[in-house]
């Protein structure tokens, strides 16, 4: 029963769906679904985290124990699998649920944290941490912080400061570490402090070729271009070939390929004598795609 001593009126029940709806989290998740192709395991994890946070909120509304949950995450996956994009969306979701106060994303790499001489690292790292307060700190290729081959490397200092803040100011900022899977695993093995402070390890799978081709479709649509039917077939073939080549960076390679196709289309149009119409300007043809070096035999990994 509600007694006089309770500090605030304790509710009897809480509507979880209402919490999510009010915070417009469902909306953010749906936006993520619509914007990002594939990534099913990532989306599932995000839904789980959002649900967990809503439950935490409900628990604290009912006056139950709800220690600030540890929200630090690690994103592992190959380049171009959408880690930064998802991090931005997470910042937004956390902000809407009230787990970070401002919801901005600060993306940094080793260079932003580690100094060049003795005594340079600590202020630099603290500066970045201060900027990230109230939001999400996204450390790309986090394993570069740790260089085991050089025991006097200043990265260690940055790691120590990071760990301290991750532990003591959990309600002030959320840290997301990102990078390739294998190297992150090595990094966590040699820095057990990190893996124990990170609650959510999310693995980003590579895109399948169908997913890549629908990503390409989305990109073209946003840039107001289109592939003619022959070009669409050629592009699917391009994706198949490109995937097998080294240095394949998923969505980023697709973007680069499209940019190159646009370049070729432009020079083709300029070479045409006489006027061009809107249709010509927005259409990428088969020859724009087929001219790629990926289709020549002696290619060793470029777009």
């Amino acid at each position: 029963m509600n007694t006089m001593s309770s500090p605030s009126p304790v509710l009897a029940s809480v509507d979880l769906a209402a919490i999510l709806r009010e915070a417009r989290v469902t909306e953010a998740l749906e936006q993520l679904d619509g914007e990002l192709v594939g990534l099913v395991p990532v989306k599932t994890r995000l839904r789980e985290i959002a649900a967990f946070l809503a439950v935490e909120k409900a628990r604290s509304a009912l006056g139950m124990a709800s220690g600030a949950p540890s929200l630090h995450m690690s994103f592992t996956g190959n380049p171009g699998t959408g880690k930064t994009t998802v991090a931005m969306r997470i910042a937004e979701i956390l902000h809407r649920l009230g787990f970070v106060r401002k919801g901005h994303l600060i993306a940094v790499t080793r260079d932003d944290l580690v100094g060049q001489y003795i005594g340079h690292t600590a202020p630099k790292t603290k500066e970045v941490l201060k900027r990230a307060m109230g939001g999400v700190l996204f450390i790309d290729e986090a394993y570069y912080l740790y260089r085991p081959e050089n025991e006097r490397d200043y990265g260690q200092e940055a790691i120590e400061i990071l760990l301290q803040v991750m532990e003591n100011q959990r309600d002030d900022l959320v840290v997301i570490l990102a990078g390739y899977k294998e190297r992150m695993d090595t990094f966590f093995r040699s820095n057990p402090g990190f893996s124990s402070r990170i609650a959510h390890h999310i693995d980003f799978p590579d895109y399948s070729s169908t997913e890549l081709s629908s990503i390409a479709g989305g990109m073209l649509e946003r840039m107001q271009y289109r592939l003619d039917p022959a070009a669409a077939i050629a592009f699917d073939e391009y994706i198949e070939r490109r995937q097998r080549l080294p240095h394949f960076a998923n969505a980023r390679s697709i973007r680069n390929a499209l940019d190159r196709a646009r370049l070729r289309q432009a020079s083709r149009l300029v070479a045409i004598p006489g006027p061009v119409d809107a249709r010509d300007l927005s259409t990428i043809t088969e020859q724009d795609i087929r001219a790629s070096r990926v289709f020549s035999e002696d290619n060793n990994g470029s777009d």
Partner: protein, 144 residues
């Protein structure tokens, strides 16, 4: 100043009020950040009103979104200089302003003896007035 109201230094904003709590400081910081001002932390043990330039504690803080980091710095400064005056300034870099827009004391010594009014007799029985801080008699670092 010279009357030493409540034995408290009254410089900057809120100086006639009781000391600001952390919540109140956070609210003030939030306001400054929302205006896009750069926040600096300064300390001194020579609170003469004409001592405009206090020592900076760390660099001025630009491009912050949230006051948590600043509050941490303030508390570190308080810990380093528990018996100094510590103030927070918010600098407006906008063209035409280019000046501190806020300045308030967040840490002060326990006992503030105030200022003495010094009268100097000049030629022709004229008098020159000046003030000096009682605390400033002692060397730097040993005041208060």
């Amino acid at each position: 100043m010279m009357t030493n109201i409540g034995a408290r230094l009254t410089q900057g904003q809120f100086s006639f009020l009781p000391d600001l709590t952390e919540v109140q400081i956070t609210a003030q910081l939030n306001y400054a950040l929302k205006q896009g001002w750069a926040i600096g932390i300064e300390y001194t043990d020579d609170p003469h009103p004409r001592n405009t330039y206090w020592d900076m504690y760390g660099n001025p803080m630009f491009d912050l979104k949230d006051p948590a980091g600043i509050l941490k710095e303030i508390n570190e400064c308080r810990k380093t200089f528990p018996k100094h005056y510590v103030r927070v300034t918010a600098f407006d870099a906008a063209r035409g302003w280019e000046t501190p827009r806020m300045s308030y004391i967040v840490n002060r010594p326990k006992v503030e003896p105030g200022f003495q009014l010094v009268r100097e007799e000049r030629e022709g029985r004229s008098i020159r007035y000046t003030i000096r801080s009682y605390a400033a008699d002692k060397p730097e670092g040993e005041r208060y």
